[in-house]
Amino acid sequence: MKNKVRIGCGAGFSGDRLEPAVILAEKGELDYLVLECLAERTIALAQKRKLQDPTKGYDPLLERRMEMLLPILKSKNIRLITNMGAANPIAAAELICCIARKTGLSVSVAAVTGDDVLNLLSGEELTLETGKPLHTVGQIVSANAYLGADAILTALETGADIIITGRVADPSLFVAPLIHEFNWSLDDADRMGQATVIGHLMECAGQLTGGYFADPGKKEVPDMASLGHPFVDIYPDGKAIFSKVAETSGILNLATVKEQLLYEVMNPQQYFTPDVVADFTQVRLQEVGPNQVQVTGGRGENKPATLKVSVGYQAGFVGEGEISYAGPNALGRAQLSGAIIKQRLSPHFPELRVDYIGSTSVHRTQLGNYPEPYEIRLRVAGKAITPEMAARVGEEVEALYTNGAAGGGGARKYVQEVIGIISILLPRNKVNPTVTVQRS
């Protein structure tokens, strides 16, 4: 058994930067590299791409990431774990093998499937959000269960160089290699709790090393343009020391770790994953060196009897339009145009938003006393059943050129399809994770 395992996180969401993972792989002396690239909505959109083309449905950046990483991973003997398989891990594994062949590399890729549970649903399942049966939300396009570390563990045990999954709980991407290396028991709730703390801290990559943290004058982060992503050293007793490659910039300290520990946490005493109900309240942090924070004290209880399932459904279309006003009384003129738009569109759009960008658009209200901004962008958004109807929002905003307040300019319009996400619980034993290995 190793006396220490080092895991790096090279991506914290699908659109994350490509370079930090390369630096981690080249200079991080990693045992494992994790790329977390799958958000709730991402998989529903990927399911739609798969429906149009059965060979697609994996992460759109998979090819570019693998072209950059495969040679380094192979030469440094680093195992990769990623959920970039999205709606189609099998096709993703084929693509990785194909890229490996082109560069003369021999790799084995294990695809984890079984998270797609669309065929198991009756429609009578009650949604967690509304308590109403699933069939009432509309046309379902996808249903993916959050698999746990046990599913990834099976893939690791095949010896594959690369493990590619669809929907798994984000922390489980990190929990699985720890169980694999240290022979921890999946039923040891405190170990699983600490492993989940580690995974939760790592899963957003740059958010631990000063990304999404900096506030000039208050929370300084040096040279953010070359921000590095984190790695963590984990010891058999569960102790973890988080750090980053010395040559990279950014910052990793108590403050960055605290922000990330509480990020998206609904109840710090009961953080639900498929592996454990983790307790973050006894976590102890200690700075043990420059950009080095030790984390201990993660605990847990049991593991849930059910798995959470994210269900994607068709929720119509959103139409948007924007136009700018600047100079004297910019806000007043934007508000006049906003009122005109409301009068013209409200009868046709039950849900309509009018925002004044620069004044009240993101907090939906004004909290402090601020002088009026020099320029204001009017934004209007409305929901509709058809794309044609949604387009009317942007058309009306554009028409403000000659039918609205004085001096509007720079109109833009957009129509976007909306995939709604809703959750249900499914008994664990109904879901059957499967591992398929391919070789280049």
Binding site: A255, E259, A315, R353, H363, L367
Partner: protein, 103 residues
């Protein structure tokens, strides 16, 4: 004396469906008791009344000198279907830091 939370604490917003989470972390541990005393769930509810429609629950994390606020019905339906310009509510951490307390 009025103190703006921005001057003594930092925050990150997160989302789960229509629920907004806001951490509030004291820069200096000695300010934690002031936060516990003044930044109650009711005070935050009052400050964010035009943003958060539902209940706010507060969790205390003394080891981290931090509070966590979980705000129900705060994201106009949630990230995928909200018409908001910031459907995740990611900018709302600074809405919390705009709050003033008696220090």
């Amino acid at each position: 004396m009025k103190i703006k939370l921005y001057d003594i604490a930092h925050s990150r917003a997160g989302d789960k469906g229509n629920t907004l989470t806001l951490s509030l972390i004291a820069y200096h541990e000695e300010d934690y008791t002031l936060l516990v005393e003044k930044v109650t769930a009711a005070a935050v509810k009052s400050h964010l009344q035009k943003i958060v429609s539902g209940e706010i629950t507060r969790y205390e994390l003394p080891h981290l000198a931090a509070l966590q606020f979980v705000c129900q019905d705060a994201l106009l339906g949630g990230v995928t279907t909200s018409l908001s310009l910031d459907p995740h509510g990611k900018t709302l951490s600074f809405a919390l830091l705009e709050m003033e307390i008696e220090g």
